[in-house]
Amino acid sequence: MKTANKEITAVSLVQAALEKAHKFQETHNIFTFLNDIEALKKAAEIDKRIQKGENVGRLAGVPYALKDNFLSSEGETTASAHILQGFTSPITATAVQKLEAEGAIMIGRTNLDAFAHGSSTENSYFGPTKNSKDLERVAGGSSGGSAVAVALDIVPFATGTDTGGSIRQPATFNGVYGLKPTYGTVSRYGVVAMGSSTDCIGFFAQNPEDLDLLMQITAGQDPKDMTTLPDFYGKDDEKFNDPIKKIGVIKDFNNEAVAPSIRKALQNKIEELKAKGHEIVELEMPALKYALAAYYIIVPAEVASNLSRHDGIRYGFRSEKSDNLNALYEHTRDEGFMAENKRRIMIGNFVLSSGFYDAYYLKAAKARTMIIDEYNDAFEKCDFILTPVSPNPAFRLGEKVDDPVAMYLEDMMSVSVNLAGLPGLAIPAGETEDGLALGLQLVGPRRSDADLLKFAAEMDNDSRAGSTETHADIFGGKD
């Protein structure tokens, strides 16, 4: 790697990233915290260790941005919510520990929809993050800050969380790659919980190769997260050895609810794949139509439970308005949560409350089984599935923020992947005539994460063939 070769120093890399971060912060509102002092200190230490000839790790001196729902002692962990303001975590998330053990340096915490509730980063206590291509438009969400930080080339990678599309959708709104791994691949220890049965840790980067390296570093079973799967990442699966792939396309997803620009991008990609000899398989998956309804029952139920811990007693914001304990809970939560947090808590308690449990929650849990079965059947017929991520390119700031159902509909093609626990990879797919980013997603069977990335890298390299541009500037030529 170039840093280790002393061609460039960690300090100069981190300094450049911080300068860009400060500059774009003024226009795009990407960060909730900038880590100037600690980041430069760490970079200087890495440079010293390199001079001594020490092994400094695979990400030595590489600056990165951390979504502000990952706990670490550097800066307050707020999840972009008022109720967590003032909370500096004594513990550090497993994923952060693993990245930093390889020498990565966090330069800033990125903005999100508070508690990752949203599809635009407008539900943030710190105000919206602006789209990297158009300042009048949303960054996507909930990991909007991370997507924009990578798209504007402030950092080569950023962390994200994806409960219903929160990595893949902002990735496509900003023209970068975003991976939501198989459920249970990367430890969730030390990450603010949203919907525990679908929450995943993943990454944004400019190319699939970098995502692969990040997964090699962070994937793996963690005794501190009982839902991590036994180590599997990077183990070869013979199923994917054939260079000719069968790519499934879901018939129902190509309809008038999807913007013409996205349907065209999908069609172009299909033609491109066909031209390379891959086989296209048309899939009928009628239950997927109900994924969004099931998602907006199951996840709010889990949200209501996960957010019940925020009581103003042990950490974060506490309301001054109260003269007794119960009033303190109620006022702290009313003042500390954003409107969308409250909506989801209320919906969650509604679908779980007696009299409605069977009609909503149990029904959604059964729909989830049908969705999983449809995916299992689909992967008997194909290797990967290619779909849009969202029905529209980045929409205008303020356009949907007052209409919760319109905002939820943005997630219609991403949430089924979470309900089934599958890996999904957002890939850039050109631009609209107005210069907005377009993206698609590749979905694979459980544990096919590395194969998905490999396939995406092949597609990417083919389309870059003839170009001299490479991604290797910072991650370097692998050793």
Binding site: P90, P223, I313, K342, K366, V405
Partner: protein
């Protein structure tokens, strides 16, 4: 199912939220819109289908019953709260 102010008040109590009148009014229309959308699940025939609550594929993850080294000690955790007396967190009166 029609959500009204009474339902909102009940849910607010379950949710420990001291909603303002304006918020309650807004939530009546928001929740009705959302419930109207999620009710489309009624169309789906789920007879004979088992529910799925997690996609983890594994059950009963065991570990030895030993105290693991904690990432944060008592002092660090108490430092996060507003007021501490004798190693206890001070709160307003309960009743």
């Amino acid at each position: 199912m029609e959500v009204n102010q009474e339902v909102i008040a009940h849910l607010a109590e379950l949710s420990n939220l001291a909603l303002t009148d304006q918020e309650s009014t807004r939530l009546v229309s928001d929740l009705n819109g959302i419930i109207n959308y999620i009710s489309q699940l009624d169309e789906l025939d789920t007879s004979g289908i088992e529910p799925t609550y997690q996609v983890f594929e594994m059950e009963n993850v065991w570990r030895p019953d030993e105290i693991l080294l904690q990432d944060a000690d008592r002092e660090q955790l108490l430092a996060l709260t507003k007021e501490v007396r004798d190693n206890q967190i001070k709160v307003p009166k309960v009743l």
